[in-house]
């Protein structure tokens, strides 16, 4: 509501002003009649684009309330109903170390201020669920900070890119490989001087090794630039 009041300040203010001018019985009557005005309908439509028609359709709204009431009243009887069927979907080839129903722990590291924090990630049937410090890692010794704890959520972030994209379109890895090959070929004459790779600060030796391998395979001169 707050957002809407700010965005549609004019409309809601105008509607309020109309209400303020009325008192007592008249007030309630005018709420009713206000709901019928085109301005209010218009306002509702902008505020709840999906549900607006439900609200304006008295039958839909009433049956919704009725259903809600009935489901509340019947909630106590739910024990008598049969559960829906559930399925067990085993692996086709079960990973060696996997025991269904038991978590697996993976040792990993997370970059933080230019250093790696040693972590253990708890995973259930392939899904990571909890992050704690790795007791055997010298930098964390089993401890974590709030960033490491919260980083589990990053894995399920809907904004996280799940695919390779090019200009917004999902592409397979092979498309990326050819595009890279082409780019490298163009740069061959200038020995890769025109290529830039945009990354966050790289503290990972593995990633550094990978990019220097990329640089050395076809071009001598490619520089990696850090954003600052």
């Amino acid at each position: 509501m707050n957002d809407a009041t700010m965005n549609d300040g004019d409309t809601i203010e105008a509607l309020r002003a109309r209400l303020e001018a009325t008192r007592g019985r008249q007030y309630w009557r005018s709420l009713e009649s206000l709901a019928e005005t085109p301005e209010f309908k218009e306002f509702l439509h902008r505020e709840f684009p999906q549900n607006a028609s439900e609200w304006l359709d008295p039958v839909g709204r009433r049956s919704f309330l009725k259903l809600m009431g009935a489901s509340l009243a019947l909630a106590g009887v739910s024990a008598c109903t049969r559960q829906p069927d559930e399925q067990i979907v085993p692996y086709v080839r079960q990973p060696e170390e996997e025991v269904p129903g038991k978590p697996l722990f993976f040792a990993t590291a997370m970059p933080m201020n230019g250093a790696g924090i040693g972590l253990l990630v708890e995973s259930h049937e392939g899904r990571p669920t909890k992050i704690e410090g790795n007791p055997d890692h010298p930098s964390s010794r089993g401890a974590t900070d709030l960033f490491a704890q919260a980083s589990i959520l990053g894995l399920y972030d809907p904004d996280r890119s799940r695919n390779i994209t090019n200009l917004g379109d999902i592409r397979p890895f092979s498309a990326f490989a050819t595009a890279l090959q082409d780019a490298l070929k163009v740069q061959e004459t200038s020995q890769g001087a025109g290529i830039r790779i945009l990354t966050e600060t790289v503290a990972s030796p593995t990633q550094r090794a990978a990019s220097s391998r990329l640089a050395s395979t076809s071009t001598r001169n490619m520089r990696s630039t850090r954003p600052t």
């Binding site: 009887v77 024990a79 008598c80 109903t81 049969r82 559960q83 069927d85 559930e86 399925q87 067990i88 979907v89 085993p90 692996y91 086709v92 080839r93 079960q94 025991v99 269904p100 129903g101 038991k102």
Partner: protein, 216 residues
């Protein structure tokens, strides 16, 4: 002024009061009966599966131990359903062309898992753990019945809360040596009234009945 209610209204009101009471009572009884019916508990009901897997053939005729397929039963809460690979260990050779095994081969070929429908299904608010029961000497047969005589598997017991509690209160008659856990048609070597209490102390069996054991 004429009477609004006739004499018969007396009877009518009594009948309707008692009628209503017994209707409510009847509904409650019906609800209780229904909750225990095999329709709701799924006791002894067969379930449609992607292919007819016979425990009778594999356990009795072929003598395969339960743990060959239900590998995690001793270590995990979940007993485990075998991956397609386990079936293919034998059926890559045995019945390699049989049509009834096509779902298994298709699963292995296309790397698509088989979808079995659960036969035993506790509500999600109940915590159950196989490994502790196996460690303390409760055999598969005690809870799942004579699986070796089931061409299609079904749920032998109601799995109602009272069924769990009955045993948790008095486990001694249901214990067996750990070496006999997967034995079907097990008969105790000595009388159970002697063996039971003996195993109780040997395995230090003390099943909890506090609510938070199973509802956590």
């Amino acid at each position: 002024m004429p009477q609004i209610f006739r004499r018969s209204a007396n009877t009518l009101s009594k009948v309707s009061i008692f009628g209503l009471l017994s209707l409510v009572g009847g509904l409650i009884v019906l609800a209780i009966v229904l909750a225990r019916s095999s329709y709701v508990t799924r006791q002894e009901i067969f379930v449609e599966q992607p292919l007819q897997f016979s425990h009778m053939h594999h356990v009795t005729d072929d003598g395969i131990d339960c743990r060959y397929c239900h590998t995690s039963v001793e270590t995990s809460s979940f007993a485990g359903i075998p991956p397609t690979k386990t079936c293919m260990n034998c059926h890559a050779v045995l019945f390699a062309n049989a049509s009834f095994l096509e779902p298994v081969r298709a699963s292995f070929r296309d790397n698509k898992p088989l979808h079995w429908t659960r036969v035993h299904d506790l509500p999600d608010f109940v915590y159950f753990n196989h490994s502790i029961h196996i460690k303390k000497g409760v055999g598969c047969e005690t809870c799942h019945g004579r699986v070796d005589q089931m061409p299609l598997i079904y749920q032998q017991h109601s799995l109602l809360m009272e069924w769990c509690i009955d045993c948790h209160k008095n486990p001694a008659p249901n214990l067996r040596p750990r070496s006999e856990i997967t034995t079907m048609g097990y008969r105790p070597a000595v009388d159970q009234s002697i063996l039971g209490p003996q195993l109780m102390t040997e395995y230090n069996v003390n099943p909890p009945i506090s609510c938070s054991t199973c509802h956590r």
